[in-house]
Amino acid sequence: MKLGLVVDLDTCVGCHGCATACKQWNTSGTIGPLSDKDPYGKDPNGAWLNRIRTYEVGDTPNSKTVHMPMSCMHCEEAACVTVCPTGASYKRAEDGIVLVDQDKCMGCNLCAWACPYGARELDPAEGTMKKCTLCVDRIYDQKLPEDERQPACVLTCPTKSRVFGDFDDPTSEVSQLVRDRGGKQLMPELGYNPVNTYLPPRNKPAVEVHEVSSIKQSVKTWVNKMIAR
């Protein structure tokens, strides 16, 4: 099984709902807390597992604003796992989720340097590496209602731009979306084979214009119609 996320760039408005839902769930989750340094002071900075990068591409007039949610891609060739000197970072065999065993992590930061997606953040209080768990503590939890066994970011997304599922299953919603919408990996050339996949913006709908008479209209040509009130 290959679990991961599909993120739809056609509809993501960059609201940060997924980012704060993630922070909220995971600070009391299996790798919690997600600490915050100087939370009420200058330059507050904490550990987040999901951040939204918003930027503009191209110069006027050919420019576009892009909202890009970024979290762990759960790469098939996860360099963060390879470089981990203590064995804390690993990719689960059964579902492909990349996790950090908090008891084994010594906070050396090598994995964060190895990750080209900026998906790992060191907890400022605990000194261990924190990263997306795909809400492993939600998705298998039989005590949650079935439709809530989803990562917190997916559950909350107000534009439903995030979908969770098994990329190994060709009938899953994520597999179908990737096929139908031409899903793209980020920076595939690096060879990490990320599982998370982004859906590019759809083609813009074409709307016809109403035909207009070439004869110049005037008030006088507008004849009253017999329409009952």
């Binding site: 909220q24 299996t30 009420y40 918003t54 996790l99 084994k104 909350t156 709307v207 016809e208 008030v219």
Partner: protein, 1005 residues
């Protein structure tokens, strides 16, 4: 097996991560912004574990935005007030020197003060509320107190949207109406600065995109929603009106209007008296007293009988276009004929409009014709039988699937009322009102035009007002002025300055009260309104006004009371501070009597119930209101024998009836809770709401869901529910006779109150056009446009609601400094570099801010995010917080008065001349680089003190409701590090992992 089932099947014996037995799930209503989404809150040991969207809730359907997801950090903000505060004797306002006092003492002080005002001169209490959601209660309280000086924040928020809609079609955008997301094929969004509404808008946009509907967004700035729009129109701020009216020009020129809709559902065919310069000009031609029953009824020209007949009757075929002299010699023409003549004028041609608004003539024409195509060639029909207002069966609903949504970018200009009317007119000529795919009303709307409440004028000691303080004037007689024409209200609402100011002018209260213009007040009582910072125009001077004293040393505003849950900037400037509960700690109602949460096809309301117990000496403002009403013996709160009628807020909500069977909550009424909308009080109503996840939803029958302005079954339901006063057709007013009456008063042609001052006359004549118009915003008219070449506007980020969230440890990490955003090309022309510091100067003053150049901004516009800046020390922030040192408020540049030109308009409010809506976005500025390398924002203010006994804001925060349960990787697994797992291995791993985790052998640690 479904995909989800397969995922569950692999459950690999993970540990139990949390102790569910220690957790409870509770439902309430979010209050991280004004959207009022349903939330499901998991609580553990009286601490919040998780807040998620309630999947069953009509507003958000399970989703939740960045703010809603950060409620925990609001709940645990170090800025929470913890006890009533009294300014220490001998200390000055602003010093923040407070003594903690008991509630007994606090309420006693308030009671004594209020009792004295009420017994002598009730209007000396000015009571204004911010972004509260309990205006039905606070308004009623003010009314019972007897002060006309009450309003909520609508006057500085979006009264132009509300009034524009309510005076045109009986509903409006946002809380009063929604696009038909399921059916619309073409959606235009105007001036939506990322907020209002939050989750519903996002859910809706997703539906549009899935269905391939076109989304056009009109906004000078390309962030948020604009980024995913199919077309972004980078309009010049304040010119949306001419864009819309020019599209109407295109439609009329090509005869592309819904004539049936106009004839059946609007006043377009009604005859208007055409006697320029004479009394009665521009009013409807009404039936004479000849015994035919049509006396006083507006007339139409019936093409069948070839006579003038009652235009409100069903049995006629009115001419849409006509101009003639009636039998009694009165020259008349139809409203539609006036409309046609007006908008076919060249001033509305795309070529001329393009020069004003910056949208090309080709785009104006194309978008108009695209909408016409969708409306008329992609019409949808729903085969649902319904009955029209006259009792005639109709076999289907006809849908013209073009819809719109607009917000503050339209409303926060001094031409916003007419611009909003222009947008509605565009919707109306396309026939897209309350039809499938169009703009749908949300119960209790639509209402008759306008709602039949008149603003109160009385000021009698110990006596309630005869009507609510706010209402809807329809003629000069309704103004709240004295015999000399002078304003009676402290904010000068309903005066000649702003006759239809239906939400008051909160932004004028402090300025007027300090000047004693029109009079001095005794007490200013504020709830949830940060008037000492981001909710005031001209903030620096407002702070001076709050501290201004008379010669005798008494403050010019003698007593200031504020209620807030947090140590906002306003707290330091108050004399008595009453600490409110947080939204997770209180009982509250989102009432149909106020601004409800209805969806187009369901009447809804909701409650808040406490999900955690408050750990401080706090009392919700609702409780304070009911307590004070009891102590002061307001008639509605007192029994015939003089006893207190309601013991607390909950009791009041259950038992108060506005009229028989109608209370604050519409659901679960009747003694056994089985009645909806109307019914006797239910003693278990709160429990019933709790059992139903905190909300009530009353779905309309399919036949009641569209064309509700003319739908008999709907109107009968609406009357029964108390939403409307009659089942008569709600006739859409493209032509507003009500506005014309004010204009006639300006022309000296009105048989009733008329202004005496020239500038009032001029404003009435210019701006009270009975048909929508465009005019240059007032500030722009009075400054040198070359000297101040840029528009300056504020936008609200999706992750913060006004000033509320800089105290939020998570949200402030997303943004703690706002930049002045500027178009890159415009910046390069001025030699302004990215991230450099600049002076930004308006007619009212100057500020220093840091520039960020970007592509997606109109070239004539600079903008920033609203209310990021905070005063050091306030909101639990440190003195050197980025919000205090580098962020800036644009408010300093905005005057509450029009730019001074040495004429009679100098003292007039910087607001829409029709509605009094604060003209925040009319601001014009010039930008110059700093010359001496200065950095940091300016002006700076001394840091405020934390509240007494404030918890120290931590240097490190590690929030969790319990110790985490780590997933332990077994040592054997590390041998595979760096290897790719084969599918064979997966099987082995799965089994092994299971045993290891369940066993958790010491060796594995």
């Amino acid at each position: 097996m479904t995909s989800q089932e397969k995922i569950i099947a692999i459950d690999s014996g993970l540990p139990e991560f949390e102790d569910r037995d220690k957790q409870q799930t509770k439902f309430t209503t979010c209050y991280m912004c004004a959207c009022r989404c349903g939330i499901k809150v998991t609580v553990e040991d009286n601490k919040v574990r998780f807040i998620q969207g309630n999947p069953n809730h009509p507003v958000n359907k399970g989703v939740l935005c960045a703010k809603g997801n950060s409620g925990i950090m609001k709940q645990y903000s170090p800025a929470k007030l913890s006890s009533p505060l009294l300014r220490k004797p001998g200390t000055e306002r602003g010093a923040g020197e407070f003594e903690e006092i008991s509630w007994d003492r606090a309420l006693g002080i308030l009671e004594k003060r209020l009792a004295n005002i009420r017994a002598t001169d009730p209007k000396k209490l000015a009571y204004f509320t911010g972004r509260d959601q309990m205006q039905a209660l606070t308004g009623m309280w003010a009314s019972q107190f007897g002060t006309i000086n009450w309003a909520a924040h609508g006057g500085f928020c979006s009264v132009n949207m509300a009034a524009g809609g309510l005076y045109t079609m009986g509903h409006a955008f946002w809380e009063f109406g929604d696009p038909d997301w399921e059916n619309t094929k073409y959606f235009m969004m105007w001036g939506v600065a990322e907020d209002h509404s939050s989750n519903p808008l996002k859910l809706g946009l997703k539906r549009l995109k899935e269905r391939g509907a076109k989304f056009v967004s009109v906004n000078p700035v390309r962030t948020g929603y604009q980024a995913i729009a199919d077309e972004w129109i980078a309009i010049r701020p304040g010119t949306d009106g001419i864009f819309a009216l020019s599209m109407i020009h295109v439609l009329l020129k090509n005869q592309l209007v819904d004539e049936e809709f106009l004839i059946r559902y609007t006043n377009a065919p009604q005859l208007v008296v055409n006697t320029p310069g004479k009394v009665g000009d521009g009013l409807f031609y009404r039936g004479a007293a000849n015994g035919d029953g049509a006396e006083g009824k507006p007339q139409v020209w019936d093409q069948q009988s070839q006579t003038c007949v009652d235009g409100t009757s069903a049995d006629c075929s009115p001419a849409l276009f006509a101009e003639f002299t009636a039998d009694d010699g009165t020259p008349v023409r139809t409203a539609m004929s006036i409309l046609l003549e007006k908008y076919l004028d060249d001033q509305y041609s795309p070529e001329i409009a393009a020069k004003e608004c910056g949208v090309s003539a080709a785009d104006i024409e194309r978008i108009a014709l695209e909408m016409a195509h969708v409306a008329f060639k992609e019409t949808i029909t729903l085969d649902i039988e319904w009955t029209d207002w006259a009792g005639r069966k109709q076999s289907q609903f006809i849908g013209r699937p073009v819809s719109m949504h607009a917000m503050r970018g339209i409303s926060a200009h001094s031409n916003g009322f007419q611009t909003c009317r222009a947008l509605h007119l565009l919707q109306i000529v396309l026939g897209t009102i309350d039809c499938p795919g169009g703009h749908l009303a949300k119960p209790p709307f639509p209402k008759h035009i306008p709602p039949g409440i008149k603003p109160a004028k009385t000021n009698i000691p110990n006596t309630p007002l005869k009507s609510p303080p706010l209402g809807f004037p329809t003629c000069p007689e309704d103004l709240v002025i004295d015999d000399a024409g002078q304003p009676l209200r402290i904010d000068k609402a309903y005066s000649w300055d702003a006759p239809i100011s239906c939400h008051g002018l909160m932004h004028m209260v402090i300025s007027n009260a300090v000047k004693g213009d029109p009079y001095k007040i005794d007490t200013l009582m504020l709830f949830m309104a940060n008037m000492a910072w981001n909710s005031s125009m001209n903030t620096a001077q407002t702070l001076e006004m709050l501290c201004a004293k008379e010669e005798d040393g008494e403050y010019k505003i003698p007593f200031i009371v504020c209620s807030d849950a947090f140590n906002s900037e306003m707290v330091a400037y108050s004399d008595l501070v009453l600490p409110d509960t947080t939204y997770l700690e209180r009982y509250d109602t989102i009432s149909m009597l106020d601004r409800p949460i209805s969806e187009p096809h369901a009447a809804c309301d909701s409650v808040r119930t406490p999900v955690i117990e408050a750990d401080r000496d706090v009392l919700s403002w609702q409780e304070v209101m009911v307590e004070m009403a009891g102590r002061l013996k307001f008639p509605a709160f007192t029994t015939a024998t003089g006893d207190r009628r309601y013991k607390d807020y909950k009791d009041f909500i259950i038992n108060f009836e506005k009229e028989p069977g109608i209370g604050f909550l519409a659901g679960y009424r009747g003694v056994d809770g089985t009645k909806s909308l109307r019914g006797e009080p239910n003693p278990r109503q709160w429990e019933a709401y709790e059992e139903n996840q905190g909300f009530f939803e009353f779905p309309l029958e399919p036949k009641q869901r569209y064309m509700r302005h003319a739908n008999k079954d709907y109107l009968e339901l609406a009357k029964e529910a108390g939403w409307v006063g009659s089942t008569e057709q709600i006739l859409i007013e493209i032509y507003s006779e009500k506005l014309q009456k004010f204009r006639l008063a300006g022309q000296g042609l009105y048989d009733g109150p008329m202004p005496t001052q020239e500038h009032h006359k001029e404003r009435l004549v210019k701006y009270f056009d009975p048909l929508p118009i465009y005019y240059m915003p007032l500030e722009e008219q009075r400054i040198d446009r070359d000297e101040y070449p840029f528009h300056a506007v504020n936008q609200r980020p999706m992750f913060m609601y006004h000033s509320w969230d800089s105290q939020n440890a998570w949200l402030r990490q997303i943004m703690n400094q706002n930049y002045l955003y500027m178009n890159r090309v415009a910046g390069e022309k001025l030699g302004i570099e990215d991230l450099s510091w600049v002076w930004v100067e308006s007619h009212n003053g100057k500020i220093r801010a840091q520039i960020k150049l970007m592509e997606g901004t109109n070239e004539n516009t600079v903008w920033t995010w609203n209310a990021i800046a905070k005063r050091g020390g306030a909101w639990g922030l440190s003195e050197d917080a980025n919000e205090a040192s580098d962020a800036f408020l644009m408010n300093h540049l905005i005057s509450e008065l029009l730019p001074a030109k040495g004429d009679s308009k100098d003292k007039i409010t910087n607001s829409d001349p029709v509605t009094g809506q604060a003209a925040w976005y009319d601001l014009r500025v010039k930008i110059t680089p700093v010359t001496d390398g200065e950095t940091g924002s300016w002006p700076q203010f001394s840091a405020l003190k934390p509240q007494p006994n404030a918890p120290k804001s931590p240097k490190m925060l590690s929030y969790a409701t319990h110790k985490n349960v780590n997933i332990i990787r077994r040592w054997a697994d590390t041998l595979f590090t760096g290897e790719k797992h084969s599918s064979n291995k997966v099987k082995t791993e799965k089994v092994t992992n299971k045993s290891i985790i369940n066993g958790q052998t010491p060796g594995d640690k």
